[in-house]
Amino acid sequence: MNVWAIAKRDFGSYFRSPIAYVVLSIFLLLTGFLFWNGAFDTQSRASMTALFGPMPLILSFFAPAITMGLLADERGTGSIELLTTLPLRDWEIILGKYLAAVGLYTLGVALTLPYVVTIAKLGPLDLGPALAGYLGLLLMGYVYLAIGLMASAFTRHQIVAFIVGLGLCFLFFLWSMMIPALPRGLKVVAQYLAVDRHLRQMADGQLDPRSLVYLLSLAALPLVIAWQSLESRRWTA
């Protein structure tokens, strides 16, 4: 219940300021522009792959932008002290704030659904890979949001949180490009760790339990670290 109250409060606060509108509008303009240019290229295929391709890069910027203020702002303004004195557990604060970011991101992704409807009207779209791709897109976004939240948990400056979050998310984006340079033995592990590879596989219509477990685990790890960062006041103060 506490988690829900925090999530609701933070989700609402996105919309009480221009943040949500600005972030989501830029996100939609960028994805829309890239997708529709790709969709109407010479091949003109009835597919959503043009949406999923550039997403790892786009999300590297947008996920930290959504999460940068979640904890850093609370620390910066000192309101974190008030929050931690409330009858709330630290993990409830982290989870509540994370769900608020997840809600905003999910709304952003949901606003791209008209693309699916339009493509399905224009050609025989295979809905399976399209929906699996959307699931992959959501999960990948949730991973990046968790990383962004983790970055936000360690600092009191939003800009620092954004840059650290961006750097970490960008590492995931670069990861796949580094794989060919790795020795053979490491490649299998490196491929498993590459987030965009899982997204590609899902967008291709292969719903692998390995991808689901990996992406959910990867989203959980930064949240645990963020939780411990908040908890650290108990042994550092």
Partner: protein, 619 residues
Amino acid sequence: MSTSNRGRKLKSFTTATISTLAIFGVLLLLNLMVASSKARGWDVTEERMHSLSPAAAEVIRSLPEPLTVNAYISGDHPAAYDEFIRSLGILLDQYADASHVEREVEVLENGQNVKKRKRMQLVSWQKIDPDKLPRSKEQLHEDWLKSRAKALGKSLDEVRKLDDAGDASLGKDPSKDVVQRTQADLAAEGIRRRPAYTREGTSISKQDIYLTLQLEFRGQKRALIFEGNPPVPEGLEFQFTKLLKELAFGRKKLGITAGNGEADPRETTVFRQSLDQLFEVSEVKLGQPGEAAKLANLDGLIVAGPRKPLPDDALRAIDGFVMRGKPVLFLVDGMTFEGQTPQDAQMGQDKPYLGQATTHGLDKLLEAYGFKVDANTLIDASHNTTGFVVNGNDGFPAPALFPVLERLANGKAEPLDGMKSMALGFVSSLQNLEGKRAKTEQLIPFARTSGASFSFDQGLMIVAPGMKLDPKAGKAGPFVVGYAARGTFRSAFASPPAGSDAMSVAPAAGEQSPDKTRVAVLGDSDCLSDLNVMMAQQLGSPDLVTGISAVTNVAAWMMEDAALSRIRNKGTVRKLTTVSSGDRTLIKFGNVLGPPFLLIGFGLVAWRLRVRRRRKLKL
């Protein structure tokens, strides 16, 4: 700091560390468990793109005896080949899994043959790294001699003499082992290293590797060599099933007519290659002496768009073929176009081209089988693709006029199973003359134009590139342009001719074909031209190529050999409907700007409401 406070902090730190490590451990363990499991996940594609096709599974389960597959793959291959090799392994596992059947076998029990049902696996495979095999028996023998010389503390010459004398104290010579394979044995069976080129930055490196599948069935061996650097997994299922099918069941024989104004074989190479993948294809020049007799050895025939009247002998030969229950696919153009040449097009001269009714002489035959090809041309300004006009062996690009067919049996039924779109250049409509057939067991209008199409059926038609045709001037669609029928057909001839070589194959008077005879008709033959492929590549319009695939599929349907077509059609291009550039801009900007504008609009309304609410507040 008090001790209790320090203790509390330490406890907090320890609890946090342990709980964090525990969560990390659980997640790591979960990932390791899932990663090492054999679960393949779910294939959510409509056509089960990542799973074995039911058609392939059907072929495998119909194998009369077990088949073994040896995958000869170099362990030290370039990393770029990993993905392909992984896909190959997954596919072979799927084949092996799908090949479990229960068969009735005869076993000897108490001195008597007893029939028993037994579960068996018809396909098994193993991966072999040929680089680890000895180069040859000679080399193996030499290495063995050296190892024996070392072990016995003797010179190589001494050991060689002992070996020549057949001294048993040397032990067993591995080169005499018949099971032991060497690289030289593999080379004799066509399994050799191939160059694998990989690109790293600006440099290209070459490495010779083994990458070949060898199928073994009833002592016969066939190799499947993969091209490409690296090869792509697409089409792997088709290639493998095709080879397996050929090895186990052989190929059916299909004839294509020639010599009566049909397209030059040199101009329809892609179509012929497409047919060659499925059948043993040969040319039949009907009307020429001795040619009609060739029909007796064929399993099916394609009448490939004759533009000269077929002689009576040829017609009788075809009729006789049908009356023996053999399938025939008629590709018939209702109209033939002449005029513009590629040179004209290159020089920018938009000459009109003239269309007139084709004199193929097939009307009598087709009518007897219950079909009529109209002497018209269908145009569709709404559902179309940019294409070109075939003019004999030449052609030129034309504006978007060619109808993209609305119905291909919904892409889910015979004979165009799995196909999504197909464009036909100046196709003619067909009529079904139901009462003419003795019995219709199945009639499939497999290709139909949209309601927006219209037909021109003037005796002489003039069309110029870029010219806008007025739909009101023609008859409105939809039109059926392809029929596939199964049933009993009546002969078109009342009596056989005398003294002709068609006699041997010509039907008796009033004869009927057996039940389940298959006849298909398509109102176009231009779609077979290589120019379609060339233009499709240039224009990025795969619809034109699918015309070739469609005819191949119909041929496979009539030959009752459609399994491979169904596999090949997996993943055929799903194309967007052609929209005008204005509509395209509208769709693009509507989608790009629509959602953000809606969001901002919602934000403005919410903001106004909030401001209004605040104004009403009184302290």
